[in-house]
Symmetry: C2
Subunit: 213 residues, 2 copies
């Protein structure tokens, strides 16, 4: 599949590398065409690099891996027309760090994913994978046992596409939480996740939803 990965940070690089290894035709998008991280990634993996608009135009499916604080602006640069009708998988979090404490810039009665959906109404936004370290996203076996990944969104077919992608990463327990309002709860897990990272001394963990079949 042609996939556009927006963002050159550790999350974008990790997802793009996994997707390229799975045989997808991946373009990494950055703010500028001459972004050295994106160009270096493309050279290393045989993938492609471009600016946000190039990557969004390239992708049949587009993944938002930009920082939550700049996601809407990055997607505006990607272009609403390049996102229209496409699955827009959002793995970002609206994180703010103030004096060592984490908070969310969008929270409680709204979410980053919903903000993106409102602004880009023709895209099919699916929230997933945001509540874990990116190494675990693409390699669930880094945490032992069977654990869970959530997704939500307003479009059934888009969620099926994302589910298939998650399965190709090795995910087995994929829980559909319903429409995109569930992104609030998915994003609000981050403060707990960070405290756990500190307490456990590792980010190689994930939540399993333990219930009877």
């Amino acid at each position: 599949m042609r996939i556009g990965v927006l963002g050159t940070g550790i999350v974008g690089r990790t997802l793009a590398t996994k997707l390229a290894a799975l045989g997808h035709d991946v373009m990494m998008g950055a703010r500028k065409k001459d972004n050295e991280t994106a160009l270096g990634w493309a050279e290393e993996t045989g993938g492609k690099a471009g600016d946000f608009a190039d990557a969004a135009a390239h992708g049949e499916l587009v993944i938002n891996c930009t920082k939550g604080s700049v996601s809407v602006e990055a997607l505006r640069q990607a272009g609403a027309g390049n996102l229209a009708g496409k699955v827009l998988m959002d793995v970002s979090n609206p994180l703010v760090f103030t004096e060592g404490e984490l908070s969310l810039s969008i929270v409680n009665t709204d979410s980053l994913a919903e903000s993106i959906q409102r602004r880009f109404h023709s895209a099919k936004v699916v929230k997933t994978l945001n509540g874990m370290n990116c190494a675990v996203m693409v390699e669930p076996g880094r945490a032992p046992g069977t654990h869970s990944v959530f997704l939500c969104g307003n479009d059934r077919d888009a969620k099926a596409d994302v589910r298939a992608l998650l399965e190709s990463f090795g995910w087995q327990d994929i829980i559909d939480l319903g429409d995109l309002t569930a992104a609030r709860g998915m994003e609000m897990i981050l403060p707990l996740w960070l405290k756990l990272t500190n307490s456990l001394g590792t980010s190689d963990f994930n939540f399993a939803v333990m219930r009877e079949d």
Copy 2:
């Protein structure tokens, strides 16, 4: 141990009944001394009933099971003097339901538990058990496998007391998240918890934090 349980709702009754069954000397506290639920519970279990101040005075350890929206007022009625120096185990959540959607009245940069600690500075507030159905709180076996319960607070000895109580309920994976600021993340898990309840069609589930030993 003498335990005061503040609140006569399903959470308070479930915890009080479990604690009485474990042999503790439990008093259920209500807004008024003649509260029929509290009196009925006492008659049924051989426990005691009183108002918030009676229950707080009775307990060596006090559990806040009142609704988050009224907790500070209930604790004011319980009396700062009756809480001073005691472990105050807070299992409540600052929930607001508006048009079917859940939100939190205290969130992100503050938590209910921290609000309580600020107002009752001589109490030793420990947040725990808030992120699950009350039936699971006292009977972790309702969800399969080993799953996790979190606690946090500013007093080490108070957390040890709460840990012992949790162990007596059958909890095995008890994760100390540090000081009371971790209550933010613990309370912010509720929106995800509610979406999971809806998606799974049951509240007999809990989160396990899957990691290497």
